[in-house]
Symmetry: none
Subunit: 451 residues, 2 copies
């Protein structure tokens, strides 16, 4: 089944409101395996609503309208649909009596304008709306079906449960669609896409969706069909995607963030962390402390925006700053080692860079960033300090965000290399679904949050 | 002129994302008196995009598309528009060279898939996108015009300014609707609403809009008509609103933020600032350093999440912590004084609190926060340290955000009290519009950003 959603209301075409009703409708559609092809927002304009219906009715099976069923002159959804279907509106005496009773209960005389809400498209099924005065309608239009719902969100939610869900269930045979997620850090969208290309071929392009922000990509795998079948398919898809993307996958749980995964790793290792930031100005510490309970492993940090503070708070030698400049590999390393030692933590993470728009030079343009992680050597012979140099695109905000994201990812990889492997998939459906995690998450697997 | 907006992206048809790009486009359209007739969201499906274009092109003048211009296989907007217009796609060698240079700068080889982004619809004008890899296009379709923009919001915003606004301005004969803003900090929406009630009566309810986030309210005053007339009306409205809201108004410029206004005040005073944070974990420093050039006045700070760091980095006496607890007035004061003295700045700001969800007690529930500002006494006989205790509602994220916002506001008021009054409205249209600023901004007026 293919569906369209149409939200009616001129206020939804301004600069301040968005149609959020469609999210409620979409949830119901997806649960029942209905494909949402499009959604539109249209003002309270009869001819525009009619044009939309004439466009979509011949090619889709289901059209869900919200809004424009009120009593006032600018509520024209009833008239527009009737005109588009070439059917008359007829007064429904039962509806009218119900409306009058409703107003009586509230102690008011029914305003004359509300009589319009008792008008029904000939042949339509009236859908009761006990939460408001605007009844809904369901009407057949050739092979397609139109639902008309009120735009008030609380009324709509009730009517989805009362009228739409049962109708969809009768046609779909129950819930039939499930989604699994892989969260990926530190790779641009196009590289992720290149890596997973074989999975598109194996499972079909429409089964896999990439949702990307800079340096933070979510892969959604979707399966339909009977419960056992779609579970097996999801497991196969996520296993294959994890294999293809490799250790850039940082979690298979929607609620995880890079900072929560790092928290899990630090807690599992019984280790503590401190950070030193220059161009990111506190954003790294802020990300880490978004996690409730982060005080278990995060001690704090220094925002050393002024160079003199790099010396005063972190012990970066003045001579090093003079020789290499604040944005340099030696200074990033000294910041990480300094914050680790001075704040007495197992790990120190440091960022120094040029976020712009000013401050760039030919040698060190805006976007030049040095990251460093100091900590116990992850294995004999491995260095204590990891360093990475970046040349980031974008504006100040984006450079800062990416610098933090890539520092978190560098730290995650370092912790994975240090933490001894934990047994994966111990119990439960969720763990079973994550069966192939070892392949995607490097030597350490995906430690799970402490209960 | 009548317009439609079309957002392309299958992720916008799920339950997790809304098309917010259309709000940016709508703003530009309204400014130039263009009527937005409809907006639609369509998946990355060529035939569906084509159907929409065939539906709207014959009856509207302007179609604005966003999204689907990326490099990956599911980005089909280019192909869909070309097919709907029955025109070929041709490779643009200059675009291709630019893309290759972009990837070189990032230190990567350009993935083969990105070559698609150099494909242009025959006869289309290429719209440069210096902020990303997807160029836009403008193409004539009979009497109508189609704009194609990337879906990344920051890239879109830049392209609206660079390409759409000038095009609209050339056709609309100039702006016909104007909005002025007052930005308000530290008051809840309902109190702002109460204060401005008289202005609703005087100017009409539809002329004034309140847009609110917790502790950050924007008041929009809108006027239409001939330039002189609407300017006069806007000036009357904003003057009256500023008078009613009082010194909670922190700016009349849309681009200002609380942190940029504080930067202006610090720069005007030639003063420096350091911060000490506990529960906000770096968010205060992060906000302050969002402002380009903040290194002129912001030295840095300490995130003292662990209590021992409050002593080690800020010199908060252990006895004080033991006697009052970390979340207390004496500790907040000691943190502000400590960071001011140890980091050698004119002002020190400090936050300590319980952001939750754990850590609360009967005496100090979640949401208890102490703020302090240390600095030179603003006037003879006034104290050096200001303190404020809060009991904030909401979850961890909201408590942290509000704590930072109210600390910034406390700092702003302190700086206003300290900075000698500067002459307001010296030159230019903008300054003239802000003529009544003195009333809204307290003794100090609104210092303008240094050029």
């Amino acid at each position: 089944m293919r569906a369209a959603i149409l939200a009616v209301g001129s206020e939804l075409l301004g600069t301040e409101r968005l149609d959020t009703n469609s999210l409620l409708l979409t949830e119901a559609l997806l649960r029942h395996g209905v494909e949402l092809r499009r959604k539109s927002v249209i003002g309270d304009v009869e001819q525009e609503i009619g044009a939309e219906l004439r466009d979509v009715l011949p090619r889709l099976d289901l059209v869900l309208l919200t809004g424009g069923l009120g009593p006032t002159a600018d509520d024209v959804t009833r008239e527009a649909v009737a005109a588009a279907l070439d059917r008359p509106l007829v007064a429904d005496p039962e509806l009218l009596a119900g409306l009058e009773r409703r107003f009586q209960r509230l102690g008011w005389a029914m305003p004359a304008v509300n009589r319009r809400q008792a008008q029904v498209i000939a042949g339509a099924e009236v859908l009761a709306n006990p939460r408001g005065s605007a009844p809904g309608m369901r009407v057949a239009a050739g092979a397609a079906t139109i639902f008309m719902f009120p735009g008030v969100p609380s009324e709509l939610a009730g009517m989805i449960a009362d009228h739409l869900e049962p109708w969809l269930a009768a046609r779909s045979g129950g819930v039939s669609r499930e989604t699994a997620v892989l969260k990926v850090a530190g790779l641009p969208e196009s590289l992720v896409e290149e890596r997973i290309a074989p999975a598109y071929e194996e499972f079909g392009r429409e089964a896999i969706t990439i949702l990307a922000k800079p340096s933070d990509v979510r892969l959604l795998a979707t399966a339909t069909g009977a419960p056992d079948e779609r579970r097996a398919r999801l497991q196969a898809m996520t296993g294959r995607l994890a294999e293809l993307v490799g250790d850039a996958v940082y979690s298979r749980r929607e609620e995880d963030t890079l900072e929560s995964v790092i928290g899990d790793l630090l807690r599992a290792a019984g280790a503590t962390l401190a950070v030193a930031e220059s161009c990111t100005g506190g954003m790294l510490a802020e990300r880490l402390t978004r996690v409730a309970g982060s005080s278990d492993y995060f001690a704090g940090g220094a925002v050393t925006y002024a160079n003199r503070l790099k010396t005063a708070l972190l012990g970066v030698p003045e001579a090093l700053l003079a020789a290499h400049g604040a944005v340099s590999e030696p200074v990033a390393r000294a910041m990480a080692e300094g914050v680790r030692a001075r704040l007495g933590c197992d790990y120190g993470a440091a960022i120094t860079g040029i976020a712009g728009p000013g401050g760039g030079s030919e040698e060190k343009p805006v976007g030049t960033v040095h990251l460093a992680i100091a900590g116990p050597a992850p294995a004999p012979g491995r260095p204590e300090v990891d360093h990475r140099q970046l040349r980031l695109p974008g504006d100040r905000g984006r450079i800062r965000w990416q610098a933090v994201q890539l520092t978190l990812d560098l730290l995650r990889r370092r912790l994975l290399a240090a933490v001894p492997a934990t047994p994966a998939g111990t119990a439960g459906d969720d763990a079973a679904l994550a069966g192939g995690a070892g392949a995607g998450a490097g030597a350490g697997g995906q430690p799970r949050r402490a209960p």
